[in-house]
Symmetry: C2
Subunit: 545 residues, 2 copies
């Protein structure tokens, strides 16, 4: 028997490598800061790296030790991007806090993460009031202040010498931490190891993924507090892509101006923002064909949005699907070569969630945990696993979200024989009607194809006979009115008769969570306590709003 040779490597997979790479190979590439629709700052990767090395040294001087959490509460700007690398370079954990949360939610998260320091935009300081009351000894540093009231990031950098030796890190050490926005219960912490983010960064640069490369100028529209802005900042550093940051409170017309001004080649956003962007571009005539890719993520885009991006804007649309627990990317929807020249087939691939990223594994299981075949028809809960998939939450809470090392995504899905994923529904959003399932997502998609319906949301309402029946909320396009009966008539041509909602509620707009997703929790509580007692034209026990 011959010995089994092991060929281990002394090179750990640590994301701080990308900083050295940006400095050594791409020192002249640029980071451009906008506020509203004007450039307020621009510097090179060389200058960026110098500030990051100083900031990391300053963190260590402040007492930050390996594994400590350093929080950020900030918009998309270059100083936030400096913290993205300086915190891991100091051996610490970057904890990006969602600025759309309430002060008490932020206090909960900062406490739960045991953050040692917080870096915050001056304009966001009030959001920290509760947290600072609870943790009076926790230093707060302003990213953009002048150092008068509180220490400032620029002040720290000015006073520090560049760090010469990075703090050694094992690739399994945490580099970042992000809390899920939590549509149920309190937020859960998702930790990202260096190895997870490193490998995830590679996938962002694959030709079949976001395809970020040296030729790109990327614009970070996705908030940097949201799952590392899909990991695109790390990908840009790794490849030397130019980066453009839109600053605080970016509005759609400003985003359009920035994309055109900077000849941005890649950006990603949630479908609701993309809908507004398309509308604005068409109304204003602004040319966005500089974009080689507009990637949609966060929720499922409508077929019409995909068509409009491709045909009206002349820009390639893609869909990325993921979760905070997936670092965040799990799949990417890029039409296969076989769909070339057939727009309808292309769009049909893009509107689904796409193919599994290399490195990950998945399976569908039924209620009993039995594996469901990938035939494009049978549904199951999607389970995922891989080097950048969470296997537990921070502090090991919520073990029920994992089974045998697999993450339970909570999504009900099909996978077709070509390996394309379709998310049918959130497990808890399926409507159980008389022993059959109705997909709220499918109903919502059908509703949004009806003229003048801008948005739609469907929730389950208990029914005395059928167990559950659908209730639909629809919002009209601005300047239009919707008649519930007409919407129901139009829908009858699009879905099976027994799927038709018991009631159509016309609302001005739909409630959304802090990261722009439909807030079904709020819709459900609006519908709570109500009961359908008959089908169609049924009497609803009480008003729903």
């Amino acid at each position: 028997m011959t010995p089994v040779p092991s060929f281990g490597s002394s090179s750990p997979l640590v994301i701080t490598d990308f900083l050295y790479r940006a400095r050594d190979l791409f020192s002249a590439k640029t980071i451009t800061q906008y506020q509203d629709d004007v450039t307020v700052f621009e510097y090179t990767y060389g200058d960026y790296a110098d500030r990051v090395f100083r900031l990391a040294a300053a963190l260590i001087d402040l007492g930050i030790r390996p594994g400590d959490r350093v929080a950020t509460l900030a918009w998309n700007h270059y100083r936030h991007l400096e913290l993205y690398l300086a915190v891991p370079l100091a051996g610490a954990v970057l904890h990006t806090v969602n600025l759309r949360l309430e002060p008490d939610e932020i206090a909960y998260i900062v406490d739960h993460a045991d953050d040692r320091i917080v870096f915050a935009d001056t304009s966001l300081l009030p959001l920290l009031d509760t947290a600072r009351t609870r943790r009076p000894d926790m230093p707060v540093i302003t990213t953009d202040g002048d150092g008068a009231a509180l220490p400032s990031q620029d002040g720290l950098i000015a006073a520090a010498e560049p760090l010469t030796d990075p703090v050694p890190r094992d690739e399994n050490d945490l580099a970042a931490l992000c809390y899920t926005s939590g549509t149920t219960g309190p937020p859960k912490g998702v930790g990202y190891s260096h190895r997870a983010l490193y490998l995830h960064t590679f996938t962002a640069c694959l030709v079949d993924g976001h395809a970020i490369g040296e030729r790109d100028t990327v614009c970070h529209v996705v908030p940097m507090f949201h799952a590392n802005a899909w990991g695109i900042p790390f990908a840009a550093l790794m490849t030397g892509a130019n980066q453009v940051l839109p600053g605080a409170h970016p509005a759609v017309p400003e985003i359009a101006t920035i994309l055109a001004n900077e000849q941005v080649t890649y950006t990603g956003m949630v479908p609701t923002v993309a809908v507004d962007l398309v509308r604005h571009a068409l109304a204003s005539g602004i040319d966005l064909t500089c974009l080689r890719a507009l990637v949609l993520g966060g929720s499922t885009p409508t077929p019409e949005l995909i068509r409009s991006i491709e045909e009206d804007l002349g820009v390639r649309a893609y869909q990325g699907w993921g979760m905070t627990e997936l670092s965040p990317m799990g799949t990417f929807a890029r039409p296969p070569r076989s769909a070339d020249g057939d727009p309808q087939r292309r769009y049909d691939y893009i509107r689904r969630q796409g193919r599994l990223l290399p490195g990950l594994r998945w399976k569908l299981v039924d209620d009993e945990g039995v594996v469901v075949p990938h035939n494009g028809v049978d549904r199951g809960e999607l389970l995922m696993r891989g080097p950048w998939v969470a296997e537990h939450y921070f502090r090991d809470e919520h073990p029920e979200a994992f089974v045998d090392g697999w993450l339970r995504t909570g999504d009900i899905a099909t996978i077709d024989p070509e390996g394309y994923l379709t998310i049918v529904d959130r497990a808890k959003d399926l409507i159980k009607s008389g022993g059959e399932w109705i997909s709220s997502v499918a109903l919502e998609q059908a509703l949004t194809t009806i003229p003048h319906v801008a948005e739609a949301a469907v929730v389950a309402v208990p029914h005395v006979r059928w167990q559950e029946r659908p209730l639909a909320f629809v919002a009209p396009e601005s300047g239009h009115a919707l008649d519930p009966a007409a919407v129901l008539d139009a829908l009858a041509d699009l879905v099976p008769r027994w799927w038709l909602p018991e009631r159509i509620e016309v609302v001005e707009s739909l409630p959304r969570t802090s990261v722009g997703k439909l807030d079904k929790k709020r819709l459900r509580s609006a519908a709570e306590g109500h009961l359908f007692v008959d089908t169609h034209n049924s009497t609803v026990a009480g008003s729903l709003r």
Copy 2:
């Protein structure tokens, strides 16, 4: 002090994952086998995977245990591709043996690797005579035989049930082994861990690398016995690219036909083959614009070859640089965005060795090991390190090739401020003339720009006064004659006067190693024992050939 959380993953980086991926996501994509210029076989990834799972089970039945080496001696064909995955799936180590070696060299390598089984093409069996005499108990299986004289691969597959559970592997376990062709001393074994090949595969699919993706049809012109055919077979499996294999003894006109027939989008080859391919395509008028990329590697392409690929063929040229010890890719030469629209600048980027692949680190050091700056001028020996860079040879021989975990590449190089590598010379190919260095590579490149010079090689010859002086060998284009004096005159316009070779030898063609590289060892031994005693028009003591 808070505890440092570790977020290890239970998902190891093992290349057999790509087989599952090919089967589950790309089962309808194809592998097409040519012999000469006709298709002899085609099957799908689904059928491929089925055969691989059976072959892996058969290997285990044959007694192959984790870590055992399984040798292949084979051309580029689908059964070789089956072994690429079946051997690691069985937990064993794929040892690809160079079929251009002599029987006694092969015997040395098979013995050194302690191969348990050899899979060989029937036509190559005579190359194994010495090895089989030395290891009479080692089973030999033919890849393509009918099972009459020796067991055959098809026979094994037909008799086996598919392996249901892969043999568990640690990511640091060896997956493959390849011996360097050894221009000095006996061949050295380079081991590739699963982790190394896995990460290397990702780099092959980066948009700034080979950019292999689902849209591609790749043709393996690079021999599969040569550093895993640059890792492209693994990249194709990972992304679902179609694969085309040219079979035994591929000649350039056949390769051209295959590329055009199959509308191949990506291929790679050594510059000497590319020169012939361009010549053939121009003479025959065959259209190769199906190629999105023709990647040159193995030796430095001439500027004229790059220009001709781009302008005469209408195909994008790139250069990949690497070594067996780098799995094999280290850099990739893709012009930056800033060179768009300026062909001359683009070619100037492509003729250099390119930018470091993400994940790797490099440095230049002088004779004392002191780091040399990356200013594009100062030269040093190139040292490399990273997850897919060898840190020792198989059986830990030749420790002198490594220093503090860094691989000494033996190449003398510059790196410019943009991070582009230029290999100036092999350390041992520099010519030390009167205390100054003359680059043999630069002389060779200058020589090949002279009309009717097809190839050139320069070696050092001892000189009584100057220590060493250059001796040049030049081969004319077919149908042309070269006059040494005229070549010297032309060269005088291209290089510093003191670089001019003492002598120009016109030869019919240059000797090459088994992998197509210039065989300077043979040229040096041809020049051995000779001494220059004067500069220019000097008397050479004895004939050189």
